[in-house]
Point group: C2
Chain length 200, copies 2
């Protein structure tokens, strides 16, 4: 394929997707070029649009196309409660339970010292600024820690809990109705809803 630089470049670019090795990347490139060029163009356009439009909510840090996301703007949400989750997918899982009406803080990651992910990388300074804000109309009264029940998620919850308790805030954790070792995103809704009611 010495005369085929754009195919080689495509295979290399596809390898930047998580979980995609060289064989998968070749299969993806082959599939798109042989059977779905329309899909390749759609994907190119979607990538460009997402990179230019998607940013982080100024309040909760999740992905949004606005300065402040729709959830944070919603006047019906209880602003005295703040639920801390690792990712937008975890937030979506919480929302699907219908059991939570407060606001969120989305870490967009988890503490992982071995991978070089420290407190600033998951926005803990912003989280602390937010709960400390003396100008807030409704002060945050309770922070619910809904990080995953994995080793890194538990560590993250522990670090945040210590810092917030030092500030005199009520800090709760989802009850262990959620199976230990599992990731929130894959847990059934009833279990999450139950764990929310039983938070401690």
């Amino acid at each position: 394929m010495a005369d085929n630089h754009s195919l080689e470049n495509l295979v290399q670019a596809l390898r930047r997707l998580p979980g995609v090795g060289v064989k998968s990347a070749q299969r993806m490139a082959f599939h798109l070029l042989q059977h779905d060029r329309e899909g390749a163009q759609l994907l190119a356009g979607a990538l460009q649009a997402a990179v230019s439009e998607v940013r982080h909510c100024a309040l909760c840090h999740t992905f949004t196309e606005d300065e402040v996301c729709a959830t944070c703007r919603d006047p019906r949400r209880d602003r005295s409660q703040l639920c801390v989750v690792e990712t937008p997918a975890d937030q979506a899982a919480m929302e699907r339970t219908g059991a939570y009406k407060g606001l969120y803080f989305v870490l967009m990651g988890k503490l992982s010292p071995l991978d070089g992910v420290g407190p600033r990388d998951i926005g803990l300074d912003k989280l602390f600024d937010r709960v400390d804000d003396p100008a807030a109309e409704v002060p945050v009264r309770e922070v619910i820690l809904a990080t995953n029940f994995t080793a890194e998620g538990e560590t993250t919850a522990h670090v945040i809990a210590q810092a917030l308790k030092d500030r005199g805030l009520q800090v709760t954790r989802l009850a262990r109705g959620v199976p230990v070792g599992s990731e929130l995103e894959y847990v059934d809704l009833g279990t999450i809803a139950h764990a929310l009611v039983d938070r401690r």
Copy 2:
């Protein structure tokens, strides 16, 4: 994510990649937007370039950016031999053995009646035109069938063999040194080289 159309569109577009379900697509979108926006832009550009630059070689049907690919243009190749493979990845596996010096015909697929893939979809009309060409400088003397040793690959080889033998051509098949049921792309080079020598 009601206010997040470009993120939703990106997840949908990623699902058009083979083997990517909704959870993988969400993880890919999250990874690109959170950790690798440069990769997202690279991928978008690579997709655009590949779609506009990559076409099929007029002679062997493989992907190329030229009218005729570098292999078909190479004056050192033996033009009396034609090796039929399913995909460019299979052709690349043959090339890596260094044991073959003829030309190729790349089907870009295999016969698969259940999926609606018939002879025209894998370019058999073009293959037959090529071996029949009375104006060819060097006529094709031997066709080596190197489709995969799967059920569909064997059927494809059988159909091509019948049609070519009716034309009085010498038709050979890679020897069964290649393990039955396996795909050429994943077979070690020594086995492929041995099977090429032992073709029958």
